[in-house]
Amino acid sequence: MHDVLVAAQQAGELKAGLQSIGAGIAYGAAAIGPGIGIGIVVGNAITAMARQPEMAGQVRTTMFLGIAFTEALALFGFVLFFLAKS
């Protein structure tokens, strides 16, 4: 009987551990693409601002919009992390 209880406990821990690993991988994977994307967005925005400083205000607004849209994917991963863990 003791063996059975240990097995049950281990099964519960195994499930929780696998959930944590899966959630971690999911978030890590979700952060790769947006990381690269935000880098591209900001880099090009800086290039544009350096070329045409008089357009800097408009470029900045558009840059934030681009960051916001790109970042959303990473944040979905972040939320998925919590959903997957429990």
């Binding site: 607004t61 934030f64 919009l65 916001a68 944040l75 979905f76 939320v79």
Partner: protein
Amino acid sequence: MFAAFTFPPIDELFRWKDIAFNDSGYGINKTSLLVFISSALILLIFIGGSRKMKLIPSGVQNVLELTYDFVDRGITRDVIGNDATRYTPFLGSLFLFILFLNFWEIIPGIQFPPTSRFAIPLFLSLMVYVLYWFLGFKHNGIKYLTGHLFPAGVPKALYLLVTPIELVQILVVRPFSLAVRLLANMMAGHILLTALALLTSYTLTNAPIITIGPFLLNIGVTGFELLVGFLQAYIFTLLTAVYIADSLHPEH
């Protein structure tokens, strides 16, 4: 050799017990209390400050005018158009509401952003969702929907691909991403600050030599969260303006 470093369950950082109307289904907890306090602060500053506006501004009036100008010129006119000043009250209230809630994250003694509870971003984004659908149908009729689902200049065959994507985009992704962006940023910031604070106190008792590291990092991240709190309020308002502009002139 050291006592184990334990991080509390995430749930403990975000869920608070009711402090009034306990367990009645509409109890008031720390989140709601902070919402009330920040609403009262906004009303106090903005209505109290705007009672006697002078031609030569000073003190609070400068702040009020700066805020109005920021929202009116930087968001409303820039994104929607010069004739859209009537949306400034809504966008301005939205911006202030989120900004004040976000700043609780770094107020010493409170250090909990109510916007990191899904309830508030979800409510705000659903409200924006309803608003831009209403405005879209009011100004453009059914064309608002068909214009999105069947964009002009796309080969007919591609509609098989484009239409479902657009449908999911405007029905689900837009409001969800709007809410999740705010939620996740504030939540991540809160977890990060909590982790650094716990690490500081843990190293202080167990390894005082390296305490300065997490401590300085904590200060730096607090400054960064100030920026994030402002930026997220700005981006939420900016995207709201973008969606409203899209409802008014879907061809752009």
